[in-house]
């Protein structure tokens, strides 16, 4: 039975699209058949991050309106044969999405995939509520800073009230994914500590992704970081988070500050 996962946050710019691509690619690498759906109508980014922007013919709006079939709109990833993308429209806006249309598309996707990952736009308006409406599980992406945590709290409240599952009395399984974690700043007390974030949000932790230049590099070349730099700390953190999503128990590692060789040498000399 397919699982519908929504990657949401409330706050913008925290790493939803990056995480959707990374988790989708990691799941595909683990053998799951995955489709990632971009719900950010008008401001689509998922196709860029996956390097598929030159192959978009039909999009989610076309399928919702019945202009195109799902098979015509789905784009297969060139590197991972289990990973597919359903892009958003760039010329329309979220008003073109309807609840029944989205429900129908998600239903169709459930039949042929193991995982349907919905990349939610920022905010709490129609795009975000439709992305979460049919979700079974949710990954709430949070930066360890106050405004992101408050917005994530709001989104958690909405996951418990505005989803089909919540309306039926069931619960959407929620996970927190902390991204852009900077160990040095956390040590100096400039960022919220992991424990504080979890205490405020009262939701289990899926993983901690460190702030990393590798993520930006991967984004710019249009390749998810788990494929572009699989040995980087960010990619390894995403892979571990994905394995936890699949049910494995892996101890949580808080990314430590990386001390480069030069720093160590320089410190020795000064002493």
């Amino acid at each position: 039975m397919a699982k519908v996962l929504v990657v949401t946050s409330g706050k913008g710019g925290v790493g939803k699209t990056t995480s959707t691509a990374a988790i989708g690619a990691a799941l595909a690498q683990c053998g799951q058949k995955v489709v990632v759906v971009d719900f950010d109508v008008g401001l689509r980014n998922l196709d860029l991050v996956l390097g598929a922007e030159r192959r978009v013919v039909f999009d989610l709006i076309n399928v919702v309106q019945g202009v195109a079939k799902l098979s015509q709109a789905l784009i297969r990833d060139k590197r991972l044969e289990n990973l597919w993308l359903l892009p958003a429209s760039q010329t329309r806006d979220k008003d073109a999405l309807t609840e029944e249309g989205v429900g129908r598309v998600i239903g169709e996707l459930r039949e042929s995939f193991d995982w349907v990952i919905c990349d939610s736009p920022a905010g709490i308006e129609r795009g975000a509520t439709l992305a979460m409406r049919y979700a079974d599980e949710a990954v709430i992406v949070t930066n360890p800073e106050v405004s992101s945590v408050r917005d994530s709290d709001r989104i958690i409240g909405m996951l418990d009230s505005k989803t089909v599952k919540a309306e039926k009395g069931e619960r959407v399984t929620k996970h927190i994914l902390i991204t852009r974690f900077d160990a040095a700043r956390a040590a100096r007390g400039e960022m919220l500590a992991i424990d504080d974030v979890l205490e405020i949000l009262a939701t289990p932790l899926l993983g901690i992704i460190p702030e990393s230049q590798d993520v930006l590099r991967a984004s710019n070349v249009g390749c998810p970081v788990v494929i572009n730099g699989p040995s980087t700390t960010a990619a390894r953190a995403y892979l571990e988070a994905t394995k936890r999503l699949l049910g494995e128990t892996i101890t949580m590692k808080v990314p430590a500050e990386r001390k480069g060789l030069m720093k160590l040498l320089l410190r020795r000399r000064a002493a």
Binding site: R150, D153, R154, G157, M158, E199, I200, A202
Partner: protein
């Protein structure tokens, strides 16, 4: 020429006041409606005696004589009409109740007929929430206490007619005793509230004493002053 001092008369000061009145909306056939009214009055006899009643005639088309007849029928049942709504001024004679407009809808609780011989102990209602209250959620319970087994997020709101008990951190707004209950209190395990209010008297986070932060505390009204003291 003598200046005759005219007594200076104070113009009568006109004040406005709003009152809550019951509204009767007759429907056709009027005879049937009057029969239903009889049945209602029979269940609670004397209920409408002395109560202000407004007649809303927007659902029926009555002539002047029909309106006069209706008013008389109602008076025979001891129902006095305060005013008439939904009808043109021209249809009313000067002796009839005046035309009213601009009425606002109000909720009137259907009160059971009073039985003074039975002492009814007031039921203290209580709302229990067993999961955290998330930012942006607003919990309104004017009938009594609210108890939360968990934290209240920043940007969340609790509005209670009675007291508020939070078994966790209170980070949002808590307003207790909203129906005029100055004895209501607010309790929490960690006080990081944005705003606390009891019976209209409020205090924001700015005025909160720093020594109280992150400790169990209670807020209560002492006269017109809100006191926040640690709970130990």
């Amino acid at each position: 020429m003598d200046a005759i001092a005219e007594p200076v008369t104070q113009p009568v000061r006109l004040r406005g006041r709003s009152y809550l009145a019951f509204v009767f909306t007759p429907v056709v056939p009027i005879v049937g409606w009057l029969a239903d009214l009889d049945a209602t009055v029979a269940r609670s006899p004397g209920f409408f005696i002395g109560k202000p009643v407004v007649l809303d005639l927007s659902a029926v088309e009555l002539s002047r004589s029909a309106i006069a007849h209706l008013i008389v029928s109602l008076e025979k049942k001891n129902i006095r009409i305060l005013g008439i709504e939904g009808v043109d001024q021209s249809l009313l004679s000067p002796t009839m109740p005046p035309v009213l407009s601009g009425g606002r809808v109000c909720e009137i609780a259907q009160a059971a007929p009073e039985r003074p011989e039975v002492e009814v102990r007031p039921q203290v209602a209580s709302l229990l929430l067993d999961s955290p209250v998330r930012s942006g959620q607003s919990v309104v319970f004017p009938d009594g206490d609210i108890t939360v087994l968990g934290s209240v997020g920043s940007g969340a709101e609790l509005v209670a007619g009675g007291s508020i008990h939070v078994y966790g951190a209170l980070r949002g707004r808590a307003m207790a005793g909203v129906n005029g209950n100055p004895h209501a209190r607010i309790f929490c395990q960690r006080i990081e509230a944005e705003l606390l209010a009891i019976d209209g008297y409020y205090q924001t986070a700015e005025e909160l004493d720093q020594t109280l932060r992150n400790r169990p505390a209670q807020a209560w009204l002492d006269g017109g002053v809100m006191r926040i003291t640690p709970l130990t």
